[in-house]
């Protein structure tokens, strides 16, 4: 009899069961350490002076009065770090501090390190900046149509081009116009997705330390220590080997900490100048200015179908309002179109996306990067099409299911696909058949589906090295040490590698130590973004652990004179599988292995398959080793007098491949649905115009005015895990962190339609916007419950 490797559920012991997180008790007892919890002897405090103008030339900066202030130890301006950086290597358009131009209210121009924050703040007031104000572009349509008569926000890529354009993407697959012309029904819609921000509860914080001769250390609340490491080296002009980035626990991020920020360069430079540790902690207001939140999208869709409800052709035109810098914008522009091609088959698809700069804080990646906005529009389009062809919206979605182990129209490879099971789960749990079009006026249900990537198939900077690496060592005490470069931002990736080590090596979970968040001592993982970590880090951890397991099995097998693959490691013991009464403590098994092989350590890595993308320019963007699938049903009650939408409940079914720890998967599903709910109903990133104050000023840079859902606002959320067991995921796992956000917003929009017959094509569904829709419907006489599908 042979022991199978643990790849079917019955063989797994710890994987697939509810487990504590390895840092869970530290977090609930106040012992967990975040960046601002650190302090060092002699540490100085930094503050950044920010532009009061949305667009201006910087003619001169005079820091002499500030420098003379008692307690001020160092001041930096843009001239001290005149190298551009950017998370995308092709669009480096930011300086750590502005050199000659400010591009939004809040852009950094100088930084001070002083003995305490109060002194640093006083010093900022003594810095004199001579600005020459320039006309600002606040509206993306104005930015897109600029003719150069006033200065563009950036230099044009080529002479004669519009310098306000970051990126244009035009891709077409199949005979879009012919199939639209031949469609039985065509729905045209125009949608606006308001920008939103991440609002992690921890503000960004960084500490710089210079050893006086050659080594720079930066602690930061970043999601991407590896990219920060590279950019610090490039901008500060020191070797990468001289830079160490440490990442304490991160208090939430959601994409808002996934590129370098001014404070990280400033603490590093100020530490090098002063020879003392320097800390900068953003105020909450600065977190809003740092932004990189969800882009406002203006979207137009034309979608065709046959009379029996098969999608024929999709034509999209999208304008992205990018704010002052490129950030991830090149990718966002591609994602705005590339990620729409599942879970439904579309025979033809075209998208035309343009991202423009405006003089506002830069937009970037927020949970569900680039695809939450088009998904909102498209799932509402599908609801409209379903009605036109007289089908229940579930049935319409089923008829267009793309299937598993297939390719999308834009040639991306799909492997496992549990979307049909997701639909079934939310249809049943929500009682859909008894509710849809059957509840009284004012109450309604809506459904929406989505897909999302499990990591980007190609890294941000082109290279052939692994996307994720793990080192593991075991020693004669029985302890397992895991060295992981992955970014723990609350999602549980440190725990995932510990579960994998315990599963494969047969030790109790609390014998596993995870050494993390330190570029000096952990292998590279590219960061916590694009839902890549479980899939890539998990596979790397399995790779490392299996190598060690085989050594232990071989040593024990030799001692017992049995075949190595008959040796089972589980629960703190090594056992002989045919007769498990033959056993020894795992520690003794490790000792046998150490005697046999010497000091025990292994490395593991994961790199993506290279044949999963489309063979065209841009065909690699949106490619992923696997895709997750989600379906939501939302139930709402609408107060038509006040325009208030009350979301009663959201049912969330998500195909995560395999739930390595179901309680963590549910947490991601609920947190995603919550965040989507907040964007649907409450969150708005609003800027003043010249008629209402200072044009370009962020209207509400606080957690009181920028309304995120409290416990009283958040609806009941029910998680329904679907497991499709992906052939390439770790134990079959895919992702859960971002996919389950997408359908919240269109499901709520579709539920509002079911409730009162008005289409909410513009976010947010706040009382003023809903009330306007109600008022317009009243005047048309169309404020009524829609008729049932197929009804005359």
């Amino acid at each position: 009899m042979s022991v199978k490797p643990p790849n079917s559920k019955s063989d797994l012991r710890l994987i697939g069961t509810n487990q504590r997180k390895i840092e869970g008790l530290a977090k609930s007892t106040g012992r967990a350490v975040y960046t601002d919890d650190l302090t060092f002897p002699g540490m100085l405090h930094g503050k950044i002076l920010r532009s009061p103008h949305p667009h201006a030339r910087v003619r001169a900066i005079d820091v002499s009065r500030a420098a003379a202030l008692d307690g001020v130890h160092g001041i930096v301006t843009g001239q001290d770090m005149p190298t551009t950086y950017g998370i995308i290597p092709w669009t480096p358009d930011e300086y750590p501090l502005c050199v000659d131009r400010v591009r939004y209210i809040g852009d950094g121009v100088a930084a001070v390190a002083a003995v305490d924050e109060d002194t640093a703040l006083r010093a900022l007031k003594l810095i004199e900046v001579d600005y020459e104000e320039l006309p600002a572009f606040l509206d993306p349509f104005d930015a897109a149509s600029a003719d150069g008569s006033t200065p563009y926000i950036h230099e044009p890529h080529k002479a004669g081009w519009n310098g306000n354009v970051t990126k244009m993407v035009h891709l077409e697959f199949g005979d879009v116009d012919g199939l639209l012309d031949g469609s039985d029904v065509v729905v045209e819609g125009e949608y606006f997705f308001e920008g939103t921000t991440h609002a992690p509860i921890e503000p960004h914080c960084a500490i710089g330390h210079w050893d006086g001769s050659s080594k720079l250390t930066v602690w930061s609340s970043t999601q991407v220590p590896h990219y920060l490491h590279r950019e610090l080296s490039r901008v500060l002009k020191i070797e990468q080997a001289q830079v160490r980035v440490l990442q304490p626990l991160v208090g939430g991020a959601f994409g808002g900490k996934s590129e370098p920020f001014d404070l990280e360069f400033c603490v590093a430079k100020l530490a090098m100048m002063t020879g003392r540790p320097v800390k900068i902690l953003y105020t909450r207001e600065e977190v809003f200015y740092a932004h990189r939140g969800r882009h406002p999208f203006h979207m137009k869709y034309r979608t065709g179908a046959t009379s029996d409800g098969k999608l024929t052709s999709v034509d999209a035109k999208i304008l992205l309002d990018g704010g002052a810098y490129a950030s991830f914008g090149l990718v966002t522009t591609y994602y705005s179109g590339q990620l729409l091609c599942a879970p439904y088959t579309m025979p033809a698809y075209r998208f035309d996306s343009k991202r423009v700069y405006t003089n506002k804080p830069a937009c970037g990646p927020k949970r569900g990067h680039g695809s939450v906005q088009p998904r909102f529009a498209f799932e509402v389009q599908i609801d409209k099409l379903s009605e036109k062809v007289g089908l229940d919206p579930f049935e319409f979605r089923r008829r267009n299911f793309i299937g598993e182990h297939t390719r999308t129209v834009n040639e991306l490879r799909i492997t496992s696909n549990g979307f049909m099971e997701c639909l079934e789960a939310v249809e049943r749990a929500s009682g859909w058949q008894e509710k849809f079009r059957k509840m009284p006026f004012g109450r309604g249900v809506g459904v929406a589906g989505s897909t999302y990537i499990c990591g980007t198939n190609y890294p941000i900077y082109p290279n052939d090295m692994p996307q994720s690496g793990v080192q593991m060592q075991i020693d004669r005490s029985g302890r397992v040490a895991v060295f992981s470069g992955a970014s723990e931002i609350g999602q549980g990736c440190d725990s995932v590698v510990a579960y994998i080590a315990a599963e494969e090596l047969g030790v109790p979970l609390d014998w596993v130590r995870v050494m993390r968040g330190d570029t000096d001592f952990t292998p590279v993982d590219l960061g916590a973004y694009s839902s890549r970590v479980t899939f890539m880090l998990g596979n790397a951890a399995i790779d490392a652990a299996v190598k060690l397991r085989k050594m232990v099995q071989e040593a024990v097998g030799k001692s017992w004179e049995v075949r190595p693959n008959e040796v089972l490691l589980a629960g703190g013991w090594a056992m002989w599988a045919p007769d498990t009464s033959k056993q020894m403590p795992i520690r003794e098994a490790f000792n046998l292995a150490e005697a046999e092989f010497g000091t025990l350590g292994s490395t593991g890595s994961y790199n993506t398959p290279k044949d999963v993308h489309g063979e065209y320019r841009g065909g690699t963007i949106g490619a992923s080793p696997a895709y997750s699938f989600t379906a939501h049903v939302a139930e709402v009650e609408v107060d038509v007098e006040a325009g208030i939408v009350d979301v009663k409940k959201i049912w969330v079914a998500h195909d995560c491949g395999r739930a390595l720890n179901p309680i963590l998967v549910e947490g991601q599903m609920e947190g995603s649905a919550y965040m989507g709910f907040g964007e649907a109903l409450m969150e708005q990133h609003v800027f003043k115009d010249a008629d209402h104050g200072r044009a370009g000023l962020l209207d509400a840079p606080s957690l009181l005015d920028y309304r995120i859902p409290t416990s009283l606002d958040t609806p009941e959320l029910e998680s329904l895990i679907v497991e499709s067991i992906d052939p390439e995921g770790p134990y079959g796992a895919k992702e859960a962190g971002e996919g389950p956000l997408h359908p919240s917003i269109p499901a709520i929009a579709n539920a509002i339609y079911d409730a009162i017959g008005i289409r909410m094509d513009r976010l947010p569904f706040s009382p003023p916007n809903v009330w306007r829709g109600i008022k317009a419907a009243r005047s048309r006489g169309s404020l009524v419950k829609p008729s049932r599908p197929g009804a005359p």
């Binding site: 977090k27 305490d116 503000p203 909450r284 931002i489 609350g490 009181l704 409290t710 416990s711």
Partner: protein, 164 residues
């Protein structure tokens, strides 16, 4: 002008502290940066997020809005003071067990609000929990797992009280 400093006397988690602080310091700044109890978090510094919530004389209190002088002579309990030598508070263990802390940054404040709730009402309804936590923003969980944890902790405290 450097800030004026003075000596403040605090009782935090049962310990007496006499520390010199700038006179404009809040209780939160004193706890975190002077005494070194960094469990209480600063999320907004203006009373919007609740991450800094501590317990002052039995009431959940936003320590970022309380001038340190107002806490003088009063009983201050922070997240670090909820556990005892016997182990973590039932809430702390149940938060871990139920996955109620993701990033963990709002957790210390939520635990203080929840601890006061359970002291007054060990078997609160979901609505009562929602009301008690309405001043504590969590951006990770959607709150569901937090409610599960508070309910589980309440049951555990009741069971312990009824045990012979």
């Amino acid at each position: 002008m450097p800030a004026t400093t003075d000596i403040v006397r605090l009782i935090v988690n049962g310990d007496r502290h006499e520390v010199g602080v700038p006179t404009h310091f809040t209780l939160l700044e004193t706890l975190r940066y002077v005494i070194g109890l960094t469990g209480s978090k600063q999320g907004c510094d203006k009373g919007d997020c609740g991450a800094c919530t501590v317990i002052v004389d039995g009431e959940p209190t936003l320590s970022c809005l309380m001038p340190v002088w107002e806490a003088e002579g009063r009983q201050v309990t922070t997240v670090e003071g909820l556990a005892t030598a016997a182990g973590p508070h039932a809430l702390q263990d149940c938060f871990d067990l139920n996955g109620a802390a993701q990033c963990g940054f709002c957790t210390p404040g939520i635990l203080c609000s929840a601890a006061v709730l359970l002291t007054r009402n060990p078997s609160p309804s979901r609505e009562e929990i929602q009301e008690a936590l309405s001043g504590n923003l969590c951006r990770c969980t959607g709150y569901s797992k937090i409610y599960d944890a508070v309910e589980a902790a309440g049951r555990r405290l009741l069971d312990a009280a009824e045990a012979p």
